[in-house]
């Protein structure tokens, strides 16, 4: 009995919440929606595809939060990047559209980063301002009009195509998570990010260039948002100023549920992936349950609240 208690006391429930929540909700939907197609390959693939852009944004946010920063502007960056790529692709080849879309995302991230790292402005306020700024720019870029993306290579590569029967969005998700995880867990840069978020003064003393780390994490956030914009443009075969606007809360919830601390020094890319899939699975399952739209929102809100409360329990002590 004592041994069991000791084992339980060593069990890090907070870090495991996303895994437990993911499995519990999966089993619940698998049982209750067995006859409604939840477990079909098509539906499970849909969940992956639908959450791919949010997952990639979540990876960027893991880096920012782990370094003690936050980026609220990534939704606006998604729209600006998608629209930039769509406009460039009207007249230029694939590579130019991709470079323009991604480049814009990284540049906006760099702007955020410079303001945060070198002008020492709080990232919350900087990105709150740039969120509005670039939402306005996205609207004025094409006068509120949607821009179709006719380049089939682009739409295939970034959203609608398959490679050896595997959807390109699934490949993007796996590759981005793998790269993100390796950088976060197994490189010196990842360690510097965590050290900066944990205690910036101590990190500075140990020789870590804290401002540079802050600049880089904001650029990563911008870059992942830019990539998410390309994926949305590829998936919808069009770009619109509203793309990414509604992702802010979903992505933040996914990252927090996935075990990343709001105040820095701790995080998980794999957890963010599972958090994002959890959000997608909730959307999917609640629709298949044929709940009314308002009931879907209430249930989703309650589950996210529960998961976030458990995830943040320790850090609030």
């Amino acid at each position: 009995m004592t041994a069991v208690k000791q084992r339980l006391s060593g069990f890090d429930f907070q870090n495991m919440v996303v895994y437990i929540g993911f499995i519990a909700i999966f089993i619940f939907f698998a049982v209750t929606l067995y006859d409604d197609g939840f477990l079909t390959q098509r539906n499970l693939t849909n969940i992956f595809l639908q959450t791919a852009p949010a997952t990639i944004m979540a990876i960027g946010l893991v880096f920012a939060l782990s370094a003690g920063e936050i980026d609220l502007s990534f939704g606006s960056i998604v729209a600006v990047s998608a629209l930039t790529a769509a406009v460039v692709l009207r007249d230029y080849p694939l590579i130019m559209g991709v470079a323009a879309g991604l480049g814009v995302g990284i540049l906006i991230g760099a702007l955020n980063g410079v303001l945060v790292a070198y002008l020492k402005l709080p990232s919350f306020l900087v990105t709150l301002a740039t969120m509005g700024l670039f939402a306005g720019i996205a609207r004025s870029m094409t006068d509120l009009r949607s821009v179709p993306v006719m380049n089939e290579a682009f739409t295939g590569f970034f959203g609608s195509g398959k490679l050896f029967s595997v959807p390109s969005l699934l490949i993007w998700t796996v590759v981005a998570v793998a790269i993100g995880h390796i950088f976060y867990r197994h490189t010196r840069f990842g360690a510097h990010v965590l050290a900066t978020g944990d205690n910036p003064r101590a990190a500075q003393v140990t020789g870590i260039k804290v401002p540079r780390v802050r600049l880089y994490v904001m650029m990563i956030c911008g870059g992942t948002a830019g990539l998410a914009g390309l994926l949305y443009a590829g998936r919808l075969q069009a770009a619109k100023y509203t793309l990414g606007e509604s992702d802010l809360m979903t992505v933040i919830a996914a990252v927090i549920v996935g075990g990343t601390a709001l105040n820095g020094g701790k995080g998980s890319v794999i957890g963010a992936l599972l958090g994002s899939l959890l959000m997608g699975m909730l959307n999917n399952g609640l629709i298949l349950m044929n709940l009314k739209v308002s009931d879907q929102m209430i249930v989703r809100g309650l589950i996210i609240l529960l998961a976030v409360a458990v995830s943040l329990r320790d850090s609030s002590r």
């Binding site: 197609g37 079909t40 849909n46 852009p53 009009r145 919808l236 069009a238 793309l243 298949l288 739209v293």
Partner: protein, 349 residues
Amino acid sequence: MKRYITQLAVGAALAFATSALAETVGPQGETATPSASVMVAEADLEVIRAGGHTAALLWHDQSDFVNAVTAGATDELARAGIEVVATTSAGFDAAKQRSDIETALTKNPSIILSLPLDPVTSAAAFQEARDNDVKLVFLSNLPSGYEHPADYAAIVTDDLFQMGKQAADALAASMGGKGTVGWIYHDAAYYVTNQRDNAFKTTIENDYPDISIVAEQGISDPARAEDIANAMLLRNPDIGGIYVTWAGPAEGVLAALRANGNTTTKMVTLDLSEPVALDMVRGGNVAAIVADEAYELGRAMAAAAILDLLDQDVPPFVVAPAVTVTADNVVEGWMQSLHIDAPKSVTKD
């Protein structure tokens, strides 16, 4: 330069919409068929009931209007024994609308009723449903490149021209047929609002020679309505009437009128709203609200889909009537439009 391009683009959109002149036309210039003529015969319902069909209602947002459309559609589908297996709201997010469609297709619905968020982004979103031969009936918008009857059964919308015209008639009546008017229109290339707004303008210009439009202001963000109205009132303090493109911004315009102590300028808007209606029944600035028959829209959408399941001809473009709601008929108007009782606040004496 940017402003010039914007004006040019809006002008072009207006020219297109006003070319429709005295009637509502579809997104591709289709002639309108009244919704009352889209009916499913009782004998045909028996055939459908035996088919075990299902439907998904994939909306753009949540509102009283959507609730009424849903109720109309659900009741008509129920008559035919068709079960609604999924209802969603995309919250105006094109990516979520695509996800909603994919998720709903997991349940293999025979029918999808939906408002495509915009022609461009929805073309790819509905492609899988179209390829799976799901019967598609669209509310107000049409995905680019979709052809009737191969790709969809029908588009159903408000009688857009009538809504704008009835708003002009109501405002003119409240002003005694003379005076000056401000025109607050939706500054975006959106088929529904463009037609309604321009119908108002065309009617005032053609039918009311003693009324002149002295101020025109576009609006894209409803939150800015109060600022826009304040500026309009500052430049035109004696303006006799204001048209506002829909009820959301109308609430802001009403706030501006109150803040200016203006009790004489009359206002009309489109779509029902409790705060706007409350001002109307209290004898405030609001002269009338013109609403669509949302429940009838839903019923007609469902009927069009059922007729398509029966392989019967369905008109490509169907319109539901508009209703002018004033202080005198607010109870009946609310029921006719939304199929629910008017809020208690507006029915109190």
